[in-house]
Symmetry: C2
Subunit: 313 residues, 2 copies
């Protein structure tokens, strides 16, 4: 198969709107998961089943699993490991990596080959399929699936504090960017960098945004950087051209640009670690064999909720 | 008190030789600790009590403790948290942060105010005392002491594999450098960067060095970068001028320079996360109040050994 150039990726920057018309607040994680499994939920999941935890995905040949666990342990902000296949090849049961939770509690009725709205497939590090609805044909008995925390999980907490993310308010996918911030290497995973998600906020609100997201250590926690200066520090060339997801908007839906509002009212970008980081590692490291990921923004929704993953004081 | 400019630091680049003349292999961690407490062991500790785990130190006013624990959790490679004061103000007992170990197992006979060969004291983020022998007068009932893993802990494993670090072979302190690699922020600890330690190795040995140090996740684990290109990537201006410790040498004791040896035999710098990183954060963040650290390279030596901190497979 010829590799697909993700940067030209047909669907990457195309708006994806929810096809689910019922009130989001009625949904459970399991309902979204079953709808995705049935091929009925095919949209991005920001705002889906509020308070239910969402997760990123990476599926690796088993020989890379130990190095990947170590990569997560060394880089818990972009790669907070929630769970993995209970055994090599298993797509229907999880082993938990979250203290105090079992795999069954995280997600009981489960099919990792179907339960994300859309998937990506890599062969030898090259993207060969983008935005496919399932990976039943691609999953092998040698694959291990990993679930990584997702920042969509704290968007409800932000919204409840009157700080709804602009992309959620407009039913858009979050903008995500490659950066020049290195991951701490682990075995085969070396010389690779963070992917970040971005939500714009008024400068006066940044400290509250930090406080609200800080307890969500299993889903990236507080931002890694913020402000217009951060764009350069992270090595992002053009804020209007994300590498994954959709272009950023302000709360009124207009494109995000520098200089809107003055002083503490100025809208500034705020960046979080992003669970697309493992897919970026695959593209850099190009390990032999087949790797599967979710389509960025098209997450699995789990049975656990906000309060289940916030560490007790 | 007038702050001391660390960059002019009288003792920072001065060679420090061990005053302990007995064979290092006879020492236990407790012996080194008691000798430091008595003011008899005042040298850097690379090579001291081989196989015993060494630790970095930071002592904070209790109001910063929660943010600092989170900083460690988010940045476990430069800041692997081993233990802290059992209660606020306690300098004689530890609470363990290492799975399967108690505070008493980590170090039983303990006086955090005396058991490092040398200390540093900061007031409002400015260094006010350097290389003092104890901090009995500086420690208050509101202080919490934190022990952070140290890369000296895996130097014996490297030596046993025929890869003795050049600085250990020559009885020198390791060279340590500030970098431009950002830490993931946590509360008050923001906009601060990694400090790294460096050991030079032949290019052909780097993969073995990575493998040998990889299991030591509680003491920085495998390197974060390597090769002459890494010097620029990390933002290090001049490899011959470390910010802490002593100037780097090759195995023959000559200054480390680029271009010694050809191809796979070329000597290249290898960089690890370093537990001086929290002191760098204090210098950047300048929190109000008194902070205490160890003098870089002058570590506490604990009762636990190599095998106690390597996670079971």
């Amino acid at each position: 198969m010829a590799p697909i150039a993700l940067d030209e990726g047909v669907e990457v920057a195309k708006p994806q709107r929810s096809i689910n018309t019922k009130s989001a607040t009625e949904e459970t994680g399991e309902q979204v998961r079953l709808a995705a499994r049935a091929g009925k939920y095919t949209s991005q999941t920001s705002g889906a089943a509020p308070t239910y935890i969402q997760a990123n995905f990476i599926v690796l040949p088993s020989r890379y699993a130990a190095d990947f666990r170590l990569l997560c342990r060394r880089n818990p902000v972009p790669c907070p490991l929630l769970a993995e296949s209970k055994e090599v090849g298993r797509w229907d049961q999880l082993k938990s990596w979250v203290d105090g939770l079992t795999g069954d509690q995280i997600a009981k009725d489960l099919d990792l080959r179907h339960d994300f709205p859309k998937f990506m497939v890599y062969e030898n590090g090259d993207l060969t399929k983008a935005h496919c609805l399932n990976v039943e044909a691609e999953w092998t008995e040698d694959h291990v699936g990993f679930l990584i925390g997702c920042s969509y999980s704290f968007e409800n907490a932000l919204a409840s504090a009157g700080l709804i993310p602009a992309h959620t308010a407009h039913g858009r996918n979050a903008p995500m960017y490659r950066t020049n911030i290195p991951l701490c290497p682990a075995g085969i995973f070396k010389h690779t960098t963070y992917v970040v998600s971005m939500r714009p906020y008024r400068r006066r609100d940044v400290e509250r945004v930090r406080e609200i997201t800080r307890p969500y250590v299993a889903t990236h926690g507080e931002p890694i950087d913020w402000g217009w200066d951060a764009v350069g520090r992270l090595g992002i060339q053009d804020i209007s051209q994300p590498d994954y997801g959709e272009a950023p908007v302000a709360m009124d839906g207009s494109p995000l640009v520098e200089g809107v509002g003055a002083d503490d009212d100025e809208l500034v970008p705020v960046f979080w670690g992003c669970g697309v980081t493992p897919q970026e590692a695959i593209r850099r490291v190009k390990p032999e064999g087949r790797v599967i990921g979710h389509a960025p923004g098209y997450m699995i929704v789990l049975d656990i909720r906000d309060q289940d993953i916030i560490p007790k004081q």
